[in-house]
Symmetry: C2
Amino acid sequence: MKMFNKVVIFGTGLIGGSLGFALKRKGLAGQVIGLSRHRSNAELARRMGAIDRVGSSLGAAQDADLVVLAAPVETIINIAPDLAQRLKKGCLVIDVASTKEKIVTRLNRLIPDFVGCHPLAGSEKKGISNSQLNIFTGSICIITPAPNTSESALKKAKSLWKKLGARILLMPAARHDRILGFTSHLPHAAAFSLIASIPDKFLRISSGGLADTTRIAASDKLLWSQIFLSNRKNLLSSISAFQTKLAEFKLALANNDRKRLLKILAAAGKKRGHLK
Amino acid sequence: MKMFNKVVIFGTGLIGGSLGFALKRKGLAGQVIGLSRHRSNAELARRMGAIDRVGSSLGAAQDADLVVLAAPVETIINIAPDLAQRLKKGCLVIDVASTKEKIVTRLNRLIPDFVGCHPLAGSEKKGISNSQLNIFTGSICIITPAPNTSESALKKAKSLWKKLGARILLMPAARHDRILGFTSHLPHAAAFSLIASIPDKFLRISSGGLADTTRIAASDKLLWSQIFLSNRKNLLSSISAFQTKLAEFKLALANNDRKRLLKILAAAGKKRGHLK
């Protein structure tokens, strides 16, 4: 017997599409139905084999055993009340959005079997055409249960991500948003601002450093404007922290303070060594 | 007949070592002698085949036809007077440093056949063990002639980089430093400051975005402190430009100004599209 007989994925982009692939490949789903704001995206996902069938409306969720919300933050919040009325009892609902507090607060009230999830497997490349079979293997998935999250739904969600090969971290949504405000939303804000500051005519005279530091400035603007706005307070404080460090660097440089500069570079290099 | 009978490379790191490989592989050099502050680095370069022989002192340049200065900016400036006295007439001297005005001003006065060069082929990975055979193929090499640069030396330097597969851009050293202050030194300053602003305990909860934007914070600290200090004025003004853009982003976010935020992200994404 499959873990889920019928799966419905709202949003067949990079994460939603990759999840469809993974569920089918691991034999976890009887059938996978995909929906997208742009029907052509869902059609493409079907042709590529990420989903079995294209759904046409929220009604597709009617007798689903698993519903995956892989749309932008605000879309998820907007469709939730309607979706809640259509679910059969015991249907597990997860999202995969990059900010969690707003979604978890709203959806846990409406859907007892909702579990907020954030697989750290995104990319600046959007769309099903960039989805991959093994995107979740070895990645971290953060799960953000609320006090009223059903125990059985949480258990099922944990089991699902484990089967997809992810390492699970459990934490409250507020803590997730504070951490990711630093480790994901801030780098994006920095990348968008950095590329904006380079004069157009200088762009072609650059090498790997500029390409690396601004790669994520190619990320989807609708998706990211919603991520930024939904984590506004945390992101404002992480930007302030970055501004402080940038000002310290600038001051050391302005003062020709070689000793201080070397100290800053040494500490940064050591810290960067902790990342892969 | 080889283009250069005897080549001496000062600094057998990533760029110096790769240049040794390329010169030997393309049959442009009779013999390649390498020197390094740390003799073990030069020995490793020899074992790997990037150079033929390890030199022990500046005296190695005595009867060289090509001298490559692939050391940090200040080392190059410091050894120049001594080096100038040892060169035979007509020996081409090039450097490969990331800032040009200070080096070109000093060296063109001392060495008539000096040509300032900057192959845009660096990386956060340092050392001969990361050098590659084809690092220059298809890359840009900026050449920064001064008014008193000898015509024959300039011609030879252009021919050399063309044979190594690089596309050549000619510009004054001051313009080079202004452009690279934006497209290379600023991204490095941003990366060092960005990683510094992330709380240690949050580091492991991140994905590709943080890794990409801070990759170059692993760059060599001695090398980069000298690059920053030797291009201080330009870098201070590019950091200011970045601070302005970051403040604009922050203001739009603080004001919950969705329209402005979307405009910023759209413009950034479009600009990023011009890079590879």
